[in-house]
């Protein structure tokens, strides 16, 4: 068993209380930060700890905070979310049902690090329970003096609110989320000005993934070297919440060292493949990553190692496919999702994704032609000209299907049917 940091207080079917969180050292980091460290020092320890953003891009959280320059205006905002619409991802939900005060403390310290005054937690409708839990625990934290004016007798004042979403994948994109919170149509904004300079209500705004933030109190308490030591690989740091779903015996969310091998996660923690099912591939970090070739079964699951394997860690949500599952069918399902969830604002995404989806559907239904393959590749290239990263992300499964599993596509075309239909 590896050290449990984020899940230290995880209990079957119960949420940790504020007292249990405090007994495990909770809110000590906030006290330390307010009494001993300047905001700049908090930024520095998080930079030293190499805390990479857990939402997918892996951008160092401390550097993001540092980009809020001293002369930027006030008020400043921190936004985090329990929105995780990325198929396969459910770690934020598990976190809110495990130790909600770790989230609250992480957000307060992040607020302190950028001299923010308000934090907003953006919650999707299917996680209404998480919204209610957080609202209740935020009240408890406020009564305990961790939120509000002059926190723990310091000069720092900060408060947290829950903001409910109407439910859309695109709201997970940073600039779209800022639009959503302001009650505007939530489409991404292509702007040379970063959100850290001009974001929510045109004020400096830091968006951090919730899993990124829960690591902050531990880094402040135990230091950068300790945090780096948690990881298995040199270029990564900390632990990671890996969500495993699909054809495994024990789907779930596991806290393991960053850089643990994929095979170990699937075999040891997710209980291995279902009886009679054999590993074919996985999407290693949610739907917007590439189908992984079997030769990378033992890849170290961190940002750099997956990049070297021409893939992405994404959200660390591992969707496992077996040899009986048709990857053309799976890709069609994913494209249906992306087409439906495209906000429709910019042309490459709005037009290219349905075009690709229709070609893949024809292949799946036995009406495919070999000439579709270069057409899909060309259309996928166009999505890189979209406003946001979600659109090229949407084409990652289909391009990796063509690259890594071409025989499955050719079989569909030559047999003029889905070879998996009726095989199970």
């Amino acid at each position: 068993m590896y050290p449990q940091v984020i899940f230290e207080n995880r209990k079957p079917n119960r949420i940790a209380t504020i007292d249990e969180y405090r007994q495990s050292g909770g809110y000590q980091a906030l006290t330390m930060a307010l009494q001993k460290y300047s905001p700049k020092e908090v930024q520095q320890v998080v930079i030293d700890a190499n805390l990479q953003g857990r939402g997918g891009a892996g951008f160092p959280a401390g550097l993001k905070w540092k980009s809020v320059a001293d002369n930027f205006p006030f008020p400043r905002y921190i936004i985090s979310n329990i929105d995780e619409y990325e198929p396969g991802t459910f770690k934020d939900r598990v976190m809110t049902h495990t130790d909600p005060h770790m989230i609250i403390e992480g957000m307060i310290i992040a607020g302190y690090a950028v001299s923010g005054e308000k934090g907003i937690i953006f919650v999707r409708p299917s996680y209404e329970n998480s919204a209610l839990i957080l609202e209740r625990e935020i009240r408890i934290a406020r009564e305990a003096g961790y939120l509000g004016k002059h926190i723990l007798g310091s000069n720092f004042s900060f408060d947290l609110v829950v903001h409910r979403s109407g439910g859309r994948y695109i709201c997970g994109e940073g600039t779209a989320q800022i639009n959503a919170i302001q009650g505007k149509r939530p489409h991404p904004v292509q702007s040379p000005i970063r959100s850290t300079e001009r974001g929510l209500w045109d004020k400096p705004t830091v968006l951090n993934n919730m899993e990124t933030l829960v690591n902050v109190p531990h880094i402040v308490r135990h230091g950068a070297e300790w945090f780096k030591g948690l990881a298995k690989t040199k270029t990564s740091a900390g632990t990671k919440l890996y969500c495993v779903s699909g054809r495994v015996n024990r789907p779930g969310c596991f806290e393991l060292p960053m850089g643990v091998r994929l095979g170990e996660i699937i075999d040891e923690y997710a209980g291995g493949m279902l009886p009679g099912h054999e590993f074919k591939t996985c999407l290693p970090g949610g739907a917007s990553t590439y189908y992984l070739q079997k030769k990378f079964y033992d890849v170290e699951m961190d940002f750099d190692s997956l990049k070297k394997a021409a893939n992405r860690l994404g959200t660390g949500a591992i969707i496992v496919f077996d040899q009986k599952t048709c990857l053309v069918g799976a890709t069609l399902n994913l494209l249906d999702f992306f087409v439906r969830e495209s906000c429709g604002f910019c042309t490459p995404c709005r037009e290219a994704l349905p075009f690709i989806r229709d070609l893949v559907r024809r292949i799946e239904e036995g009406e495919g032609k070999e000439e579709f393959i270069p057409m899909i590749r060309r259309m996928s290239q166009h999505t890189w000209k979209s406003y946001c990263a979600f659109s090229p992300g949407a084409t990652m499964p289909v391009t990796s299907l063509l690259d890594n599993f071409p025989e499955e596509v050719h079989e569909h075309i030559s047999q003029r049917k889905c070879p998996f239909k009726g095989r199970q």
């Binding site: 991802t89 459910f90 409910r164 109407g166 439910g167 302001q182 009650g183 149509r185 209500w201 779903s245």
Partner: protein, 164 residues
């Protein structure tokens, strides 16, 4: 008209917001809970509260999955059609529910109790195949489990809110 109490609550929330529009989703959800869905009347009422035109609010109402612009049943069943649920039998869950309820996806039962909607990944991939009914998640679904859930909801249901 809305209950005065609810209207006053919404007005005071809007007054506290940085800008009225910040409250758009909360107002739409509150109206939807009150009317059963976001009717044209509710939309106009919401727009007035938020100092927006009905068209501006409509633009947002139709953007989001969980705002219902058409009448729905007392229980709205959102069946996850994400890739994990697809792999784990989404289609048979949808077929089973359609058969049991006698409706197609997008329709509402004649007694006004159930609406069936396919929905983008709801984030319960560890409980796949999964569905969400009035905010509560259920899974992994089997025909037996679905029967139990439907029977329980039927027994719990007060008089249908919008029998048609």
């Amino acid at each position: 008209m809305l209950h005065e109490e609810l209207l006053n609550t919404l007005r005071s929330q809007i007054a506290r917001a940085v800008s009225p529009r910040e409250m758009t989703i909360d107002v739409m959800f509150a109206l939807q809970n009150h009317y059963g869905y976001l009717s044209d009347e509710a939309l106009e009422e919401g727009a007035r509260l938020l100092s927006m035109t009905p068209l501006e609010l409509e633009e947002l109402a139709t953007f989001y999955d969980f705002i219902y612009r058409e009448p729905v049943g007392r229980y709205v069943i959102h069946i996850c059609d994400g890739v994990v649920c697809w792999m784990n039998g989404y289609e048979s869950v949808m077929d089973y529910l359609s058969k049991k309820l006698g409706i197609k996806p997008g329709e509402t039962t004649v007694d006004g109790l159930f609406t069936l909607l396919p929905t983008a990944c709801i984030g319960y991939c560890d409980l796949s195949p999964a569905m969400l009914i009035n905010g509560r998640a259920y899974g992994p679904l089997t025909p037996g489990k679905i029967d139990d859930i439907l029977n329980r909801l039927r027994a719990e249901a007060p008089r249908p809110r919008m029998a048609r």
